[in-house]
Symmetry: C2
Subunit: 260 residues, 2 copies
DNA sequence: TAATAAATGTCGTTT
DNA sequence: AAACGACGTTTATTA
């Protein structure tokens, strides 16, 4: 055989057939996929009960476990990585207990019928890259401040103030101190309130005019109302806009943008 | 055959063998599970790129799709239910496009090698019940107000005020108006700020003393500091406590608690 | 549809 | 370990 067998697949196995395959798969740090009729009980931060039905259950080598029903994006039950699995064949069925000692959480899956048991050795070590995050919008404005407005000069990024971090502080074309808050999705009232919290601190520290600009692809009606009431400003900018700008950048470090 | 074949499992199939099975599985509203080497590109609210590696990919009958790496609880890429799947065999491999027209989102999965293709008809219609939610904590306090403090009399639940909904409003033993905010996990500063927003409205509307009580299993140091600064109070109460109380309730409607 | 808050949120980062 | 904020948050609820 050219390719050594890197997966074991059992179709409608008996519980007895399955138990050793599952145990070995878990102990050898494989990804174990089980489809079958089961109940699931969870107890920890909350507690839950799921009566018998057919589900897809996944145990990963890092100790994460997922129970998926045939609908919905999110698992009905789960435990995050770092959990410990115990597999046992009992009178009633094949029981897999998932523990997290630290969090005092447990999830118990009891199978009565199996449609499939699959054990695989998935090799996957490449990087995952997410583009057009809020950080990237920030980078884009620092790289090309005209994106915000003509003549804007960034001074600091992520300045620490009491309530948190101000995304960008700089001076506008007339030399007025300007606080910039960036959101990558439509801005709501919460975003304006966050900006206000920063402004409260800035206004307290300095005794001179300060502008506040909220940058986002869009803004809700309520948020715009509050924004204008507070005398702040809105600048429409999408992650895609920023992504385009960053394509020109290519590897210049962020520190390069803070030269005189 | 006693049990009609309710699943199709292909082990290390060729892309050509797999494509028809996948297409049929999707069109017949089955759960389709694919393990294999693939790349994943996402474009929508953000965009992402995942280079070639071995992953577990799930397509559900409701139009949700998940891409799982061999680590982590959360999928590396996904689309929620209501998405549309397009499967196509091209020169480079087996490509499955997942669309959400409304959200202008797409995820493209391109397989070059397959370890497994499994198509199942999972029957799962029972209810899932989760205990010890915030709503249950609220119900417990309404059922047995002494849980909050002796002599407390609830007046309304979920009173609508401008910022949102106040969990419980009532009168304490001395007849002072009392606002109750409930959190099912350790309360942080954000919870106190939320309570403050409610109090700002209440204090504005009424010109008399008002108490504010934050109910949670625990509270962070910063949050407690802010809470006391504002003159509010903290009452420790766990979801488990409340769950115990509710076991005595057994089906009495909530409205039954608002009698003179 | 928009806004608002809960979630077994999870995840990363900083203190 | 604790606290805090971001997330392609998702999900439910309500105006």
């Amino acid at each position: 055989m050219e390719h050594p067998q890197r997966q074991t697949i059992l179709q409608t196995p008996s519980l007895k057939e399955a138990v050793e395959v599952i145990k070995q798969g878990i102990s050898r740090h494989r990804t174990v996929i089980i489809a079958g009729k089961c109940t699931v009980d969870y107890d920890g931060r909350a507690s839950s009960k799921l009566e018998s039905g057919e589900r897809l259950v996944i145990f990963k080598p890092d100790g994460s476990a997922l129970v998926h029903r045939p609908k919905d994006y999110s698992p009905v039950n789960w435990q995050p990585s770092g959990s410990i699995f115990h597999t046992k064949l009992v009178q009633d069925g094949l029981v897999i207990r998932v523990f997290r000692r630290k969090e005092k959480e447990s999830m118990v899956i009891a199978f009565t019928e199996l449609q499939m048991v699959s054990v695989m050795d998935l090799k996957d070590n490449v990087e995952f890259t997410l583009y057009a995050s809020e950080k990237e919008m920030q980078e884009a404005i620092l790289y090309k401040p005209d994106l915000l407005e003509s003549g804007f000069r960034p001074m600091t990024k992520e300045m620490a103030v009491d309530p948190g971090f101000i995304d960008i502080i700089g001076y506008d074309a007339t030399g007025t101190l300007t606080v910039v808050e960036i959101k990558r999705v439509k801005a709501n009232k919460k975003a304006v309130e966050q900006l206000k919290k920063y402004m409260d601190v800035i206004d307290l520290d300095e005794n001179r005019p300060v502008r506040a600009i909220l940058v986002a692809p869009d803004i809700t009606g309520d948020a715009l109302e509050l924004l204008l009431e507070l005398g702040y400003e809105f600048k429409a900018l999408t992650p895609q806009n920023c992504s385009e700008v960053l394509k020109q950048k290519k590897g210049k470090p962020l520190t390069a943008f803070f030269n005189p």
